[in-house]
Symmetry: C2
Subunit: 137 residues, 2 copies
């Protein structure tokens, strides 16, 4: 069906993977590129975009769209969802068997097949909440 897609291992892709894993948050391609450059890497921006897309395709990273830009994060390979701080980006992985079941049932009940779902929770983490109330006007 879909060609297995050969994939050579290059130092650039490896560098991107490492940089991504070094961060616990969802980051944009641009931000990751800048961070890598700051560390002395010479990867090109286009390569970072390509590497991140490949990682996501291989299930090595999760992607989500927030505020108009694509963010990536190195995640567990098993299916899960996220609780994300909208201020600092800190992310908690969530398991939610009940929600998975619900999604499948609702889709089936309406005659939809091949259901997929997006379930993410955004909020302010305790740290950011404290920082805000501390410096609030």
């Amino acid at each position: 069906m879909t060609a297995p897609a050969p994939r050579r291992s290059t130092k650039q892709r490896e560098a991107v993977r490492e940089a991504l894993e070094a961060s616990d948050e969802f980051v944009s391609a641009q931000a990751l590129h800048q961070a890598m450059r700051a560390e002395g890497s010479t990867v090109g921006l286009a390569t970072v975009y390509r590497a991140l897309a490949a990682l996501a395709e291989d299930g090595e990273a999760d992607a989500l769209q927030s505020a108009g830009e694509l963010l990536y994060r190195a995640c567990t390979k098993t299916h899960h969802h996220h609780l994300i701080c909208r201020s600092c980006g800190r992310t908690v992985e969530l398991e939610a068997a009940a929600v998975e079941r619900w999604a499948g049932q609702v889709a089936a009940a309406h005659g939809f097949i091949e259901p997929d779902h997006v379930v993410d929770i955004f909020g302010l983490c305790a740290e950011c909440a404290a920082a805000r109330s501390g410096s609030a006007r």
Copy 2:
């Protein structure tokens, strides 16, 4: 806190609202603009963008990001989620008290405040599924 934001009623904004309500699917600003033009309207594209943003802000429309573009749909004003056909865009509104509760509890358990959430289910509606298996190779 936030200024009530005065909002004058104009025929353009009204036309956008009507055009949006005429569709049962999520549509992009561009698509809506083209549809309106096709009907003889002379609204500007920028105005459609502004009107849709205003409608979403006022809770008269729901917005979601799919494949890199913002889509809007005239929806019920009460909180709900969506089951969307990824082929034809047909949309079903969903209520899910259990999921709402779950989201709130999970956020609280991790010390997050002001929780918000994104919960959407994508799939192939019965009609599109039938069409596909009928013409499948």
